[in-house]
Amino acid sequence: MSIRVDHLYKRFGDFVAVDDVSLEVESGELVAFLGPSGSGKSSILRIIAGLERADSGSVFFAGQAADHLHARARGVGFVFQHYALFRHMTVAQNIAFGLRVQGKSRADQGLRVHELLDLMGLAGLGERYPRQLSGGQRQRVALARALAPQPQVLLLDEPFGAVDARVREELRHWLRRLHDEVHVTSIFVTHDQEEAFSVADKVIVINRGRVEQAASPADILDHPATEFVARFIGDANVYEGKALGGVVPIGRLEIPAAGVTDGTEVSAVLRFYDLKFWKEDQGIARVVRTMTLGDRVKVEAVIDDGPVIYSQFPRRSSLLAGIEPGCRIHIEVTLARLYPKDAGILVSTTPPPA
């Protein structure tokens, strides 16, 4: 079932949590709401579920306005960050709850519970109580409970936020595999970009209650629509400067800015991996530090007459040859993204050299 959200607006007291948000999720899609905490992504999810009422704007399911429907009538499966399992019920009773309140027969409840326990890898745990389960198991029970009434929409609020890193990784695969099997239209909220990119078909980046960009993971990485997205996704250097003769000078570094009117104030976003450093005594910067991070090396340098700049290289890269603290280097910008101050949206990226 497709979801459409139109000009949503919601405030809590003086705080505007959702500020004119419109977005679309196609039937069967798995979509991530990605943003920093407090960005309003959970509020949007809760409005879609009917747990909160928008001050204005509408939510449509399969083209039908759902604003008048109470949360209990929306048929939406919701998975809570801290599981919200019924602590006085067994796992089986938890999963059966949605069917029980619908008045489904015991036999039907039992069949569906069995099916879900198997699907979720929880077989044999039906008689346990939530307090007897691990975090990962609890989250799977929460997922099973939400899926039991066969909702047409599944909403997950920071579903993996409360478990440790290894289990989180596992649950991500779970969610992806599960979605590929049951194909229910799903939205999950996360502040973890790796999570969003590795699981979702489409990522919607949200900041300060507004949608910054809605696109495929690849598109968001390659074409960040706004300065916020460019800063938020991936590791990047961000500089403020003024275009002058086709470049933005930052100290002695000249960031290519072909086609940008002279005098335009811009934010320049340079991803770590869109930079090349090599050793050159007549270079424009000096290396301060190198840090080995697993299979990559992060290099910190200071641009002459300018600020610090970072880059990252594979550990065995030839570019690293001779790079050590104190040496001078040249810098090549293979890709820069420029965002004029007054517009905030992308105007120019330097195409990678052919």
């Binding site: 747990l51 909160e52 109470h70 209990r72």
Partner: protein, 275 residues
């Protein structure tokens, strides 16, 4: 939890329940207290002042406030110490003792009075010994104090316990590694977080003591100008058929009750044991 989500906001059914609850509390709790207030003020300020400043009334009020104050002080100290020992120390009989602390909540106050008379009264267990040593407990102010200490014992202990249970031992250890001696650790690290709880328990004790009737009426002997406390003075006035005078003196106690209840709630919120 300051906000309740929109989906859980009370619907019509919830509002009907709220109306019924408000009506129940209004009729059962508020209305009688308003009647008390109205009757207390009915004779005008002069009559009110006269009733309160009648020598018997004044003495009873003073005695009540004093004994409650002394009790509260002892309770604050010993209640905190008891909570400390029950939470921090392991010793045989700890569970039994912890259970026993709640006894005053479970036992009728009149029975408390009876027990105290059986212990300290002239024909009580310690009667002979008290008589020869010349000490007077029953039918004297110490009896009042002991009765008050009994009935209010759980307040400070139960207020302080949860805070102690939540206290992180690391804070204490951190202070010690920084070179603080035991007394400084107690004063600067352990005590401050307990203070709101100690105060809220003390306020509750004090309020309870001002109204205590059942235990004192048996143990104090009710000697006017000696051991007659305010609630018993009130009782006497009611028995004597003068509810007007009783209502006036009640106003003083009611004022205390309202102020102390309000303060108790505020302190509980501060202590973080809000409910």
């Amino acid at each position: 939890m300051d906000r309740v989500s929109d989906a859980l906001n009370p619907g019509t059914g919830g509002r009907v329940v709220r109306g019924a609850v408000l009506a129940y509390i209004g009729l059962l709790v508020l209305l009688p207290l308003v009647a008390l207030l109205q009757r207390g003020l009915a004779g005008g300020m002069d009559a009110l002042w006269q009733a309160i400043s009648a020598p018997g009334a004044r003495h009873a009020l003073t005695l009540t406030l004093w004994s409650a104050a002394v009790m509260t002080l002892i309770n604050a100290l010993m209640g905190t110490a008891a909570a400390w020992v029950l939470v921090r120390y392991r010793f045989p009989g700890r569970t039994f003792l912890s259970t026993l602390v709640d006894l005053p909540f479970a036992i009728p106050t009149l029975v408390t009075g009876v027990m105290l008379v059986l212990l300290y009264g002239p024909r009580g267990l310690m009667g002979d010994w008290l008589a020869t040593s010349g000490l007077k407990i029953a039918f004297a102010p110490p009896g009042i104090l002991l009765a008050l200490l009994f009935v209010t014992l759980p307040f400070v202990v139960r207020a302080v316990e949860p805070v102690l249970l939540e206290q992180d031992p690391a804070e204490e250890e951190a202070a010690r590694t920084l070179g603080a001696d035991a007394f400084t650790v107690f004063l600067r690290v352990l005590l401050p977080p307990l203070l709101p709880a100690i105060l809220s328990g003390s306020v509750r004790s004090f309020a309870r003591a001002l109204g205590e009737f059942g235990s004192i009426v048996v143990v104090s002997g009710n000697i006017p100008y000696k051991t007659l406390t305010a609630p018993i003075y009130l009782f006497g006035e009611i028995e004597a058929g003068d509810p007007q005078a009783a209502a006036a003196v009640s106003l003083v106690l009611l004022l205390f009750a309202v102020a102390l209840t309000y303060a108790g709630r505020a302190l509980e919120r501060w202590a973080g044991v809000d409910a």
